[in-house]
Symmetry: C2
Subunit: 98 residues, 2 copies
DNA sequence: ATAACGATTTGATAACTATCGAATTAATTG
DNA sequence: CAATTAATTCGATAGTTATCAAATCGTTAT
């Protein structure tokens, strides 16, 4: 991964609310065994105290950085993390770098 | 580490030039076996094409996020990475998380 | 001591960002 | 169909940031 793309990803994670949003999505995603539970945005909105328009904006940023992808299900929006990408980023940061 | 601190670190890494600066410091630091070679800012300035004032600003940001520490040696500035912190960040990002 | 050099500070500017309220769209429920 | 609900879009605003040029500070070399 080149530096520019990495910087873009870090930028997407650089806002506290957006980072928390990302972590919530990741956590929901992780606890989805075996029932493959899905992460609805509505639930997240109630747990962060920022408005829906801002959440919408943050989600767009996360998608734009390729950190998550979304899918519409009726009137709901489902988010899921891009596991490969975040592992890659994690490795870049690790000095041992393996 | 709490979300706010993590976000602050990501912010410090969110600018392409600053990230490259950080990587250069880390890399110089890593290749310091066994001669404990030191990372002088001057060398970095010539390899990135932004001015000295901007570099100075970026270094302050990295120090402020605790990602690096600096030490004055005569008229030169030496930078070294905070290895523990970046390992911690790397682990937070890893979904496997350990 | 004077010049040269590395680095920092200051002040300015253009660009970007997080957030909100209001309006809107789209889907579901009564 | 009407009302409700989830989400998005729009427009505005206050705050932040990256960068530069010019000036300054400290250290070293001539």
């Amino acid at each position: 991964m080149d530096t520019k793309k990495a910087a873009k990803i870090f930028k997407a994670l650089s806002n506290p609310n957006r980072l928390e949003l990302y972590f919530k999505i990741a956590q929901m995603h992780e606890s989805s065994f075996p029932a493959d539970s899905e992460c609805f945005v509505t639930d997240i909105i109630s747990s962060l105290n920022i408005g829906a328009p801002t959440i919408s904006h943050h989600i767009k940023e996360l998608v734009n950085a390729d950190l998550i992808s979304t899918e519409k299900k009726g009137k709901f929006l489902i988010c899921k993390v891009n596991e490969e990408l975040i592992e890659e980023v994690s490795k870049i940061l690790s000095l041992k770098q393996q």
